[in-house]
């Protein structure tokens, strides 16, 4: 079942003002750079973006924020981005902060047909406001709902023509769950290979979760915190 589209333009076709997008990545690691750049070019506005982070000022989702294309961010951590903080504190940008594990699980639930689940994370905090509390094994939990998106945009290391994806190292992060939770899931890959090239034992995201796949033109893969040790 061939999922290949020609380029990023064809891949993002149909994304419109006001839609909800999931965007994979953790910090700048494993983000769909080519798609984000093209979203800026498309100029779609009033987006709701579900993404663990909001990029930095001049890279990642920060680019969409700079261009004022985002109405609402749903994230777990949004430091490292001055423009973000400015828009949020001034009230221009709506922000919903979600515990990282709940965010990951809510995306998975959205893709897995689980409308809601109980988790201990956030009990007794702002996050629990308005949410049902129930005690299991003597411990209070809150009920969290599934998340889905009109489009999920993920980035993989390798992908085949049937949409099967393989991720590298910690660039996996949120990408597999978001791929599950998109009504339409777009995968941007570093290397597109023919079906049959990837070992079926080691597929991270089966092609059933992916509707469109393309090989990105270029990947900067910017490092957010370069930490090294010296050779002696």
């Amino acid at each position: 079942m061939n999922k290949v589209v020609k380029d990023v333009e064809q891949a993002l076709e149909g994304i419109q003002d006001g839609m909800t997008l999931m965007v994979g990545g953790f910090g700048l690691c494993g983000i769909p750079e080519n798609s984000i750049a093209h979203l800026v070019k498309m100029g779609v506005k009033n987006l709701t973006c579900i993404s663990n982070n909001a990029g930095v000022d001049d890279f990642g989702l920060g680019l969409l924020l700079q261009a004022k294309q985002v109405k609402k961010m749903i994230s777990s951590y949004v430091g490292e981005n001055d423009e973000f903080e400015r828009q949020m504190l001034s009230g221009e940008l709506e922000v919903e902060l979600i515990p990282q594990g709940s965010l990951a699980e809510r995306c998975r639930a959205g893709g897995a047909g689980i409308p809601a689940f109980f988790t201990p994370a956030g009990y007794g905090t702002e996050v629990a406001e308005g949410k049902e509390v129930r005690v299991f094994n003597g411990k209070p939990h809150i009920l969290e709902a599934a998340l889905t998106a009109d489009y999920a945009i993920v980035k993989a290391w390798k992908g085949d023509t049937e949409g099967n994806l393989v991720f590298k190292a910690t660039a996996r992060n949120f990408n597999p769950m978001m791929a599950m939770a998109g009504k339409i899931t777009i995968a941007e890959v570093e290397e597109l290979v023919p079906a049959g090239s990837l070992d079926p034992n080691f597929i991270h995201t089966p092609g059933i979760f992916v509707q469109r796949i393309f090989q990105g033109d270029s990947f900067e893969k910017r490092i957010e915190q370069r930490t090294v040790r010296s050779k002696n």
Binding site: F26, G27, L28, C29, G30, N52, S75, S76, Y77, V78, G79, E80, E85, M88, L89, V95, L97, P99, Q100, G101, S102, L103, A104, E105, C107, R108, T119, P120, A121, G122, Y123, G124, T125, E126, V127, W157, F167, K168, A169, T170, A171, R172, N173, F174, N175, P176, M177, H204, K221, R222, I223, E224, Q225, R226, T227, V228, R229, S230, K231
Partner: protein, 218 residues
């Protein structure tokens, strides 16, 4: 004399037990990995999706696809594994991680912790901290006893928005090791050369002080 950050990390490292999986937060907690006691085998989990974290890479060997939860470039040890964020928090929520070490802005005497938000001022988000503190059986907070304004961070009740309730068991600061039990702080150890009086004066929360307070052995 009060400990520096390294000293706090060294003291916390003494809490590690053989065979534990450990999640270290950003800042002082990260340093704990440098002081694992001899004969103790622990494995570090980072919530962005790795078990078996190694040291920072040599210059020129950084891999942008290989980072920790602080977004720092890292390496892996033999026997490492990568996984997605849902699996990572399955490990955390499912209590497969034996110890969590993290920083805090405030800790209260009933074990509440606040470390993610200063209303109107700093709103970076909770990241994985709420999942970690809600789930871990064993949480150690690494922090300074007072904030920059000189006010105690060891409180009767937190004033900032909470990250978790009744979850912190132990706090290690530049002055002391405190245990939280029965709604009170208990002074367990003091930093070398630090007086019990100084600790009492810098602790706003109720503090139980035994007759003899041993010095930390670092």
């Amino acid at each position: 004399m009060a400990l520096d950050k390294t000293g706090i990390a060294k003291r916390i490292a003494q809490e590690l037990r053989d065979g534990w999986y450990v999640n270290l937060g950003i800042g002082i907690p990260t340093l704990v990995a440098n002081y694992i006691p001899e004969g103790i085998d622990v494995e570090f989990q980072s919530e962005n999706g790795i078990l078996g974290m190694g040291p920072f890479p040599f210059e020129g060997e950084e891999d942008p696809d290989l980072i920790n939860a602080g977004k720092q470039t890292i390496t892996v040890r033999n026997g490492a594994s990568f996984f997605d964020s849902a699996t990572s928090f399955a490990m955390i929520r499912g209590q497969h991680v034996q110890l969590t070490v993290l920083g805090a802005m405030e800790v209260s005497q009933n074990g509440d912790i606040a470390n993610w938000k200063i209303p109107g001022k700093m709103v970076k988000g909770m990241g994985g901290a709420m999942d970690l503190v809600a789930s871990a059986e064993n949480i150690i907070v690494a922090m300074m006893h007072s904030n920059k304004a000189g006010e105690s961070k060891i409180l009767k009740a937190c004033t900032l928005p909470l990250t978790g309730v009744g979850c912190v068991k132990k706090v290690v600061t530049e002055l002391a090791v405190l245990e939280i039990k029965d709604g009170k702080f208990h002074l367990i150890e003091r930093a070398p050369g630090v007086s019990v009086e100084e600790i009492i004066s810098k602790t706003e929360g109720d503090l139980v002080v035994p007759d003899v307070v041993p010095e930390m052995q670092l």
